[in-house]
Symmetry: C2
Subunit: 284 residues, 2 copies
DNA sequence: GCCACTGGCTGCAAATTTGCAGGCAGATGG
DNA sequence: CCATCTGCCTGCAAATTTGCAGCCAGTGGC
């Protein structure tokens, strides 16, 4: 019986749980909350009257019936992709969007992938408002903002985008009195500063800046210690004369979007691209 | 771009609007409200960035792009049907359900189709609580109830099921003082009684009953007048010695379901069958 | 012309779905 | 052993979707 209570869209959940092996993995892939994954999977199981997954080795394994269902679902996904191409053949994607974020994120994460993205969408224009200061998002000074701290509620949409690891970098062979690089006092609450404080290093800081590329350069001298986000640490971690220690705490990255742009196709395309940039931030 | 904002289930709306030619038709077919049809169609149009239908001759005509999309949708519907068969191959549909309704509906609409239905579902048992009195649905005396009047809200689910026409039947060649068949005073508010009152016939009633088959038999004598629902009028309307006049007002038919059965597969199967019975109530 | 019917849309309330916070269980590492 | 991390689930609130009532426009019949 496939009555109207069989929600076609729930079928996508089955495929995502199979592909990722966990509800949490499917949640990240589908960009919905994992409780929603669980509930929608339960809903489609009830509708089909079939058990779809067994729990084995901490993973979700599809039942034989589920394997058969998955073959049909992948056929459906092919059809959906073709439908999407029909929509894509309408070349009306245009717009100019202002993205506010830090210098580091703009330079290291977005910029490397911006040219190909704009080539793919000739009607789009992106303005990167990158600085150390928070752009006044509530005053419409930006359309999209990427924040390293969960923002207070406002008349805009907030969504969690990603997170980043932090690394404490120091010379591999300890040297006397390395230069301590620290962040300014107004950033005392960020995990980077907190870590340095617990190490008793914050007061010894001889280089105080919020410019992470400055810190990066100092660390490259092998005479300094400091804390940097993961996207700026690939070369440092590969350097044998440096030691990198992952901090226990991560920093969450949040996305803000003006509410009136929630159904804007250009905005959605740009947001997808931003998410993709963060997904691949560890790859050059 | 077919991101997660393309709701697979919305694709079904496109097909239904194409098939039925109007939102209202799609609404009846899908059994959702027509405003929901309009909104979901608008949503999928936004997601695809494609105009799907033009309005022509009071009907919705698919655009060329929509025609291409519809081909993929019908492929998907085939896959969904196959998925449903996988679920159906699990022969665990069992249960015993009590349906409360009038004698007329039980005998004329449900009973003719009950045997084939039960043969199709060997694990099901149906108890028809048919009488003229309203079973105490709120006291769990029935699982499903079919009512000819919109019920007050209660701790159960109410849904509109169908409606029926009413016919005033009289001898084609007028005779003096035909026997007036009327309904009892406690049913004074139903459209049947109201109509007879406006015709000044209610006080002249010489046969007062709530048994519509009794009225049917009297009308067959060609010496009586009365009002009956459409499902009991096929033969009367075909009788050349009788004249049938459709009443302006219809009677709505409502379905009640105990809330705890809303996700019960057996209950859903039975409800689908009941709907089908009413859909074909004019066919023998 | 008037009336009834049908289809589609708007606004509001009700119903449903989703996200978040917190808790629990299991696995891993120090 | 304890702390941390990860995955999953529950309860509650927020967000979204849906249904209903009412309205408007168009059509057909009297």
């Amino acid at each position: 019986m496939t009555g109207p209570d069989l929600n076609w869209d729930d079928l996508r959940i089955i495929a995502a749980v199979k592909d990722e092996g966990t509800f949490a993995g499917a949640s990240a892939h589908l960009r919905i909350d994992e409780t929603t994954v669980a509930r929608r999977l339960a809903r489609i199981q009830r509708a089909l009257g079939v058990r779809l997954f067994e729990a084995a080795d901490g993973l979700r394994k599809p039942t034989p019936q589920c394997e058969r269902i998955l073959r049909h679902i992948s056929d459906m996904a092919l059809q959906v992709a073709k439908i999407g191409q029909i929509g894509d053949s309408v070349p009306d994607l245009a717009g100019r969007l202002r993205i506010a974020c830090t210098n580091g994120i703009a330079e290291q994460i977005l910029a490397p992938r911006l040219a190909p993205f704009l080539a793919q969408h000739p009607g789009l224009a992106i303005q990167l408002l990158s600085s150390s200061e928070n752009v006044q998002f509530s005053r419409w000074q930006a359309d999209i903002a990427i924040r390293l701290r969960k923002p207070d509620k406002g008349d805009f949409t907030i969504a969690r985008l990603s997170d980043m690891r932090l690394y404490f970098i120091e010379p591999a062979t300890g040297i006397d009195t390395p230069v301590v690089c620290a962040y300014p006092p107004e950033l005392d609450q960020i995990p980077e500063s907190q870590f340095l404080k617990t190490r008793g290093l914050q007061q010894q800081a001889r280089c105080v800046t919020d410019n992470i590329r400055v810190i990066h350069t100092l660390l490259l001298s092998h005479r300094a210690v400091g804390v940097l986000p993961d996207y700026l640490c690939a070369d440092l971690r590969a350097d044998k004369r440096l030691k990198a220690t992952s901090l226990p705490r991560r920093r969450e990255i949040w996305l803000l979007l003006q509410n009136h742009l929630r159904q804007d196709r250009a905005a959605r395309v740009v947001i997808d691209w931003v998410r993709e940039c963060f997904q691949h931030k560890d790859q050059p």
